[in-house]
């Protein structure tokens, strides 16, 4: 046991929610995001550029911060992040051509899958199969249950229209979820933040804190309706989804069941029509 055989330094330790040097990542991606948001508010940013820029800066930032946890401020980190940014840029630009072109965003998870075979440290974020395989259908069931409940409740209470067809917008949104949205959110909020805080503070503080951050991230999504009831409903469901995702990560040691839960939930969410 290490406590008998390893050196112990009682003065060493880490304070703060985020790892040392992570401020560099915040600065690197936060500055362009703030500038972009200001330009957008002033109306100086064309819509296509805002869409692509937002995709690259926001999701790239989330991904860069997630990868910072296992790789640190290193050359490996840069080598992992730059192709991911290029993939996001290419995918964003191609998405402008039409809904089906959005599937080009799938290159991001492919790149991360390839990267995890080259950099074993990345697998510690949860890019590994669950200890028990039944966690995968369990994750899907939890996401499906929440999604169906959302559909029923929102269609009954708020009068939202639910429709599968036309399939184009649904698939376009799904490609975004599958290629970018779920990948960056799961890697950062469940893989990195929850993983780190779980190890340091225990399950519940970590789950509540990381889920709060993830809800915040979804609430600033410009595509979400701005009404109070919609925001309250979204917070409610996303909070449940986040807590369930943390539980799945804790039980399975993998991000895949949680990602499946999110995928099924968002698949249901994408069936709404304004």
């Amino acid at each position: 046991m290490e406590v008998f055989t390893s050196t112990f330094n009682s003065a060493a330790g880490r304070s703060g929610l985020f790892p040392p040097e992570s401020s560099k990542v915040f600065l690197l991606f936060g500055s362009p995001a703030v500038i972009g948001a200001c330009l957008w508010k002033l109306g100086w940013l064309p819509v296509p550029l805002a869409q692509v820029g937002g995709l690259v800066v926001l999701h790239g930032g989330l991904l860069a911060l997630a990868l910072f946890y296992p790789l640190g401020w290193s050359r490996q980190w840069a080598r992992a992040v730059l192709p991911a940014l290029a993939s996001l840029l290419a995918g964003g630009v191609l998405s402008l051509l039409g809904p089906w072109w959005g599937w080009s965003l799938i290159t991001l998870p492919v790149w991360l899958g390839f990267l995890s075979t080259r950099e074993p440290a990345i697998r510690t974020l949860g890019l590994r199969l669950p200890h028990e395989r039944w966690m995968l259908p369990a994750g899907a069931a939890i996401g499906g249950l929440l999604g169906v409940h959302l559909l029923v409740a929102a269609s009954r209470a708020l009068g939202y229209r639910v429709a599968l067809f036309p399939l184009g917008p649904v698939l376009a949104n799904l490609s975004y979820d599958l290629g970018v949205n779920l990948v960056t959110a799961e890697l950062l909020f469940r893989g990195a933040l929850f993983g780190d805080w779980w190890r340091r503070y225990g399950f519940w503080p970590a789950a509540v804190l990381s889920t709060s951050f993830s809800v915040l991230r979804y609430l600033i999504d410009p595509r979400l309706p701005g009404q109070l009831d919609a925001l309250a409903g979204a917070s409610f469901y996303l909070f449940l989804l986040g807590i369930a995702g943390c539980m799945l990560v804790r039980l399975s040691g993998s991000l895949f069941p949680s990602a499946l839960a999110s995928l099924f939930f968002f698949a249901a969410y994408r069936l709404f029509r304004q």
């Binding site: 046991m1 008998f4 050196t7 296992p70 409740a153 209470a157 225990g202």
Partner: protein
């Protein structure tokens, strides 16, 4: 397991029934029927604790929330909407709070049960390692630890390491595998006597220089085992999963109990061992007293016999001389017999007196001077030659052997005793060798007397120089003696600053070697005044 499933089925059915009833009877948030939701929530919280209570409360909220949303959408009265939201909060609060209280109560009950189990484990019989194995195994189960290690430092040189892992079999570690680094976390806990919690062994920078995430956090709690002001060791608990503050406090309290329990067990064992040792000593002392009593009785009996035999002879021959006239030759022979027996009687009395003086601490006066070994040996051989029928007596001395520095009379007594024993204990005859030679130790002379007699059993070798000790076996039962000879010899040899040793093999014979100082001007000066007392 089966009861849990049944419980979940009941809860699900109850919830479904309530939901149906609610939706069918009153589609309004303020309907009094909404309070029915509290029944399954409370039941699940009491039955399954925080997890069950929270889960069922969440299900209830999921069923109830759409109705509240509907009311909000329709722009219903604010009071009713507020009532609906309050119901949602209450459902979640009641479920989690009741479940938490139930968990805490159950935790306390489990802790008390665990302590009772621990006390039972430590109160059971057996040696300390056995007790510790039982206690640590019980502790591991109670604390739901992945692995538990007990380190005890009753002695600095030989600490005790006991580990019980997932296979539940206790393992004692020794040697290099359990070296305690002086700058390790365990050493820090022992030094500071404070509890140390490591939230994840893989990533804690206090213990890892290059942290990397494992598949799950490895929580470690190190609890010093305190007895009064002394730290007797520590317990290291490792858990894979959650290790809440309340659980850590509970484990810490248990650790304190263990420390006291171990100390009690150790003291009880020590007391038991002490009692056993005392019992053994008392038994040995009693046996010694019995032997001593028997030896005294034997001594009195033998002394009477030894004294009466020569006295009877003296009495008989003197009566013969008085009663009738005898020829000159015959009278001379009778006088010779009387003289021999008187000499023997005198020797016995002299031995007894010497020993008595030694026992009383009065000492024996030595008049030491240079004595040549070979003439001394030859003179003693000639004295006993008549008794030694069937024995071959061989005398040998190393050429140019320096003289021995000794009292000639006492040296005669030593040689006569050893020679007499050699003859007595060689009933079948054989060769008796008397050899004088330079000892291995410089400035000393060895005088050895060896026989081919019955020999001495190994178990008696350490006792033959004790007073009144006689070897009891069939080969020596006919040999007369008081058991004083060798004790006297040893005392006399030691008074000469010498030593005596013996080698013997049963059935092959014995060899007694007396080592004495050589005569030289230095020894003479060192021994001044010339006379030395034997104390």
């Amino acid at each position: 397991m089966r009861s849990s499933r049944a419980s979940f089925v009941v809860v699900a059915g109850l919830l479904a029934g309530v939901a149906l009833l609610f939706l069918m009877s009153a589609n309004e948030a303020h309907s009094p029927l909404r309070h029915l939701y509290f029944l399954p929530v409370l039941w699940a919280a009491i039955r399954f604790g925080l997890r069950g209570g929270s889960l069922v409360a969440l299900l209830a909220v999921l069923l109830y929330a759409p109705i509240v949303l509907l009311l909000m959408e329709r722009g219903g009265p604010a009071a009713e909407v507020g009532e609906g939201i309050a119901t949602i909060i209450l459902l979640l609060g009641v479920g989690s709070l009741t479940g938490r209280l139930r968990d805490r109560a159950k935790g306390e009950a489990l802790r008390h049960r665990g302590l009772a189990q621990l006390q039972r484990a430590m109160a059971g019989g057996g040696e300390l390692p056995e007790i510790l194995e039982r206690a640590v195994t019980v502790l591991r189960e109670n604390e739901r630890a992945h692995e538990i290690t007990l380190f005890l430092k009753f002695s600095e040189s030989d600490p005790m390491f006991l580990t019980v892992g997932p296979d539940r079999s206790p393992r004692w570690l020794s040697g290099a595998s359990c070296d305690l680094r002086q700058d390790s976390a365990a050493a820090w806990v022992l030094k500071t006597r404070t509890v140390l919690y490591i939230s994840d062994v893989f990533t804690d920078l206090r213990i890892q220089k290059e942290p990397s995430w494992g598949p799950f956090p490895r929580r470690l709690l190190l609890i010093p085992l305190m007895v009064a002001e002394e730290c007797i060791g520590l317990v290291a608990l490792e858990r894979h999963g959650e290790f809440g503050r309340a659980e850590r406090a509970s484990a810490q309290a248990t650790g304190m109990e263990i420390g006291i329990g171990i100390e009690h067990a150790r003291l009880t064992l020590r007391q038991r061992r002490f009692a056993e040792e005392l019992q053994a000593k008392v038994a040995a002392a009693t046996q010694n007293l019995r032997e001593l009593d028997q030896a005294k009785s034997d001594f009195v009996s033998m002394t009477s016999h030894e004294l009466r035999t020569p006295l009877t002879a003296i009495q008989g021959f003197s009566e013969l001389l008085l009663a009738r006239e005898a020829s000159v030759e015959r009278a001379r022979l009778f006088h010779q017999y009387i003289h021999q027996e008187a000499t023997r009687l005198g020797r016995i009395v002299s031995d007894l007196l010497d020993l008595s003086r030694i026992e009383l601490g009065r000492g024996v006066e030595l008049r030491r001077r240079a004595v040549d070994a070979l003439p001394l040996l030859e003179r003693n051989v000639s004295l006993v030659e008549r008794e030694a029928s069937g024995h071959r007596l061989v005398c040998h001395a190393e050429p140019q052997l320096p003289p021995v520095y000794a009292d000639p009379e006492k040296l005669d007594q030593i040689i006569q005793n050893l020679l007499s024993n050699a003859i007595k204990y060689s009933p079948a005859g054989g060769t008796i060798r008397l050899v004088a030679e330079t000892a291995v130790v410089p400035g000393r002379v060895d005088i050895s007397i060896s026989d081919e007699g019955v020999g001495i059993p190994p178990e008696s070798l350490s006792r033959i120089f004790e007073k009144y000790y006689r070897i009891r076996n069939t080969a020596t039962t006919r040999v007369r003696g008081l058991g004083l000879g060798l004790a006297l010899v040893k005392s006399l040899v030691e008074a000469h600053e010498g030593e005596i040793r013996v080698q013997s093999q049963v059935g092959k014979g014995s060899c007694f070697v007396v080592t004495l100082p050589q005569h030289s001007p230095e020894t003479t000066a060192a021994a001044a005044p010339e006379d030395r007392r034997l104390d």
